[in-house]
Symmetry: D2
Subunit: 335 residues, 4 copies
């Protein structure tokens, strides 16, 4: 009953998922790993009793590997997802699915050619209990149609290597998926405003950024991305509907009253904030492999995110409203 | 020690202020009133022991009147404020100070000619305890410079006579003043987006609207105006600064747990939400008249609001970003 | 229409009420004051244009005085309330109504002999918006019958002159009235437990104390009194009913997020916490004098509080459950 | 590396733990089960690929079984825990450890004779993230010494088979352990008050109950147990210390605003409320078996809970304050 997993990429997130698949989630066993840093791969492999293989293609080809997790450098994702698909093996790919829309389209075609769902993309927000409560409220019908969404994505700080485009591609991409998923609609345009910059930034970095998205039905979603907010990791999301609103809860924490006032803690990083979501994401993925294939974010969701982040990146560079031009959604990807 | 007040305009808000000056605030006495509806003026006058006079000019000229409150129809404000200023009498004018920027400029000149502050404009948010706590936090310096503001102004519903422009001129005008006051900066541009419309609207009405303002230093303030939100009167305001954020509190209410969950009430109208702010606004105004003249929102604030709402109205009509072109601020209006 | 007030006692609370009657509440004018410290009385009188009289009896007898406010030392209350009642003048008496149950009974008899309500006792909780919201929820009927109340009354600190009995007589007395008022029932027994003492106390002081009350219908109310809690002035009250619960809200305050977490302020003293309640208490009292007499806490409420605090004081001294033995409530005091 | 588990008792909680050990927690495998209802045991065994054995003693004796989980009827716990201990096998026993203090003492002796920790008792509160945050705050030292605890344990409803004593033995027992654990002290006395009964009760049932505990150092902990509160499953815990307070957070839930107000959901049962705590409890237990033995609530904690619930039961029956008489704690059980 155990799913034997091969992991491509043993960096921070790769190691975290290997730990998760080994120590947290039942029904999975990491049997093979690889990394561009062979020594690191060997070390990680030894820790969990897996074999370290030279390349990602070796991992995919390994007959002992039932399913593949891709957590390597973004530009290599497409190659591995395509190879896994060609091999008929389920593949979980951390975002992005691919770094170009063209590569995403190739994956869509390959998966359709395979005739069954094989690809899942790592948009873990969909597994967060708070987001799921929001989704239930929106789908419950009592609130009427959504009209507006107000989102914020704040990090305490980022390293100097973080460039302005990453606010779109690495950070906002999670909200882009969350907006699409919560609303059940495609985004049709993007705009990026650049407010006064924080002093706690690097010269090259536009931080914060304020993004505006419009959906097919005219919903407007705004998103503050602020990656040097200093105070913590803070995710906000409010959806305003025709008859009411629903807001994502903050994580629960003990309430302390002292001479400095009433205080609750603010989390400091995404691992704390979405740790339970990651666990559930993998638990459901592993369970789905026994039961008809992946049920999470699909290759289509990965493709849409790529096209939208491309548009938002252009919007950041030009200051203009940029249209999102998605291909027609194949029936294969309709739920 | 009592200030004798003449009130021009005895409609709903006029009557509410007369009640306030009579029953709530000490040190004031309403001695003369007028209204376009003479019968209504007579009735209101009788209720509080004041005299009903034929016209606003009569009220201003009345030697028994120490100070004037203007709560008549907006287009008549400028005339009365100018007349009171000419008569050297302090005048409290409900917003708008005037319906054109030109009339506001005339008032600025008249007041400067009078050589002392006589005019106060009715932006009551500045007297709300919650807004004041926000202002203290921002001025305290611990949060660093503001970068973004996220605001929402929601009404349960509006009558059919409410037109799209009123979302700017009657509704957003309060946030326009609040943004200027909280940040201590002028707004330099405005843009208005029109999201999907609620079904709970009239055919002529763009509701909700999503407004974007930029200030001199580059702060971006966004404002949702949603005047048929169905669920209540709800004012939200969060300011994001370099080292932290501050959020306007919701009004306190009893917390009830029953089989339908944990619940607190949502207020239903602005009178409930800002009743205490109105009381304090008049208490401080009356007190200021004994003590050097008005300390609240000035004619300059009324002028700036007029120019910004003009720009936002044009932005609504054109869909474009519209620049706000204020005259240079006279030293007279620097604090 | 103005009520001319004589104030007996110009200490801190007396001065605060004089300021309130002068600057905050309309329809009242303080015309005469007295104090054991004649110089202080003279100074306060001069400030508000009142006359300073030698004794409380002089204030009561003064034909210019329509109504009396008693804020003198507790042991003198009964004498002044009886004199005002004998003179047929409405009297507002800060708690306690009298320091012995016998004196309270004398006041009840005197007021009944006068044939109309003249006495109001200063239990200001009944005027707090939060408590009123709780009262409405309880009276609304949806929650069923109350079964339990959990209360806390915390002060940041008290001076060394504060003795253990004052936790009952000066502090808990407010909750004793609040419990009676919210439940609409009499308290029938009291018990006081003395937990581990805080180090931030004086050797003579049992702090905190934990009090238990039972009502006629068997509701159990518990009350933590902690007068050196260090962190602020904090009033908590939750009522548990057959079908739900209702909790007193904390005062609203701006929500600040910084590197130390999410924070809201805690008030530091009762003047901040109940300032609005005091204002409303006097506004309603003054209004009631034009309109049939006082509607607030009655002499019966003052008597009941005295008997219950006597029982609780005995309970503190003996460690036992002490029964509360109230006389039958005269029809005169049934609402 | 897998721990092979034998489960004694396949009722509701037993099945839930079997599911947990099979589907949620890694490193464990349920290999043998038993139940007084042999058919049920067979069915459960078949579902997870375990063997169904005739008796608990058979499970314990089975060489394939590394560790034992006891979820049978309470009166049988002691027998199985003693047998497992005699067999030198780690045993996780759902509360109660035993139904008499004498049996608990026998277990303490047996475990000490075994020379190493083998027994863990199922007090899952210690694994709840909220309680752990409270514990961290208390242990952090900033709050000073605890003085008071205010707790509530509310269930929406209980079946008619629930008797008054169960409020102590089955319900309050969780707070009794939480109080001991959070404070790091023993409870020395118990008292139970019976407030007015809810109409939503059975004739035989005292509901709610109000319990009072005192600890060695004089901390007073009060606990409302209300098992027919109608509105949900609600756990409250506030600790009042010398310099501040800390309160257990409510579970996070989406915040919905509609015409009925602002609402968050209330959980309906303990499985929802403590599901994550149960998962973590077993994950840590399984992990501890690889690493020196159990780290959770010990046989001493089970013994103390038994003696305290005995005292509280007597207190319920007599209405008196009942002393808790614990044996001296053996060094074996000092941390």
């Amino acid at each position: 009953m155990t799913v034997h997993i091969g992991v491509i990429g043993t960096g921070m997130i790769g190691q975290d998922h290997i730990r998760r698949l080994t120590d947290v989630v039942t029904g999975a066993d990491v049997v093979a790993v690889t990394d561009v840093d062979a020594a690191r791969a060997a070390e990680v492999a030894a820790r969990v009793g897996a074999r370290a293989l030279p390349t990602g293609q070796d991992v995919i080809a390994d007959p002992a590997v039932d399913a593949v997790v891709v957590t390597s450098w973004g530009p290599t994702h497409a190659e591995y997802v395509l190879a896994a698909t060609a091999a008929g093996k389920p593949v979980f790919c951390e975002k992005p699915l691919a770094t170009t829309a063209e590569d995403c389209l190739r994956i869509l075609e390959a998966e359709q050619a395979a005739g069954r769902g094989l690809v899942q993309v790592g948009f873990m927000r969909r597994y967060d209990p708070g987001y799921r409560a929001v989704k239930r409220a929106l789908d419950g019908g009592q609130l009427g149609h959504p009209l507006l969404m107000h989102c914020a994505h704040r990090n305490a700080s980022v390293p100097e290597s973080y460039r302005s485009e990453m606010a779109v591609q690495d950070t906002a991409v999670h909200e882009i998926d969350a907006i699409r998923w919560l609303l059940g609609e495609e985004i049709v345009s993007a705009q990026v405003l650049t407010p006064r910059r924080t002093r706690h930034r690097f010269a090259h970095l536009a931080d914060p950024q304020f993004m505006l998205f419009e959906t097919e039905s005219g919903v407007r979603a705004d998103l503050e991305v602020f990656v040097n907010c200093q105070y913590g990791y803070d995710i906000q999301c409010e959806t305003v509907c025709e008859s009411g609103t629903v807001r994502l809860p903050d994580p629960a924490d003990a309430i302390v009253k002292t001479a400095t006032g009433q205080r609750t803690g603010v989390l400091q990083d995404w691992k704390q904030r979405f740790g339970a979501a990651f666990d559930l994401e993998f638990a459901e993925w592993i369970a789905s492999l026994h039961d008809g294939g992946p049920t999470g974010p699909s290759a289509w969701d990965g493709y849409a995110a790529a096209v939208i982040t491309d548009a938002a990146t252009e919007a950041l560079h030009t200051g203009r409203v940029v249209s999102v031009r998605l291909k027609d959604r194949p029936d294969f990807y309709r739920s």
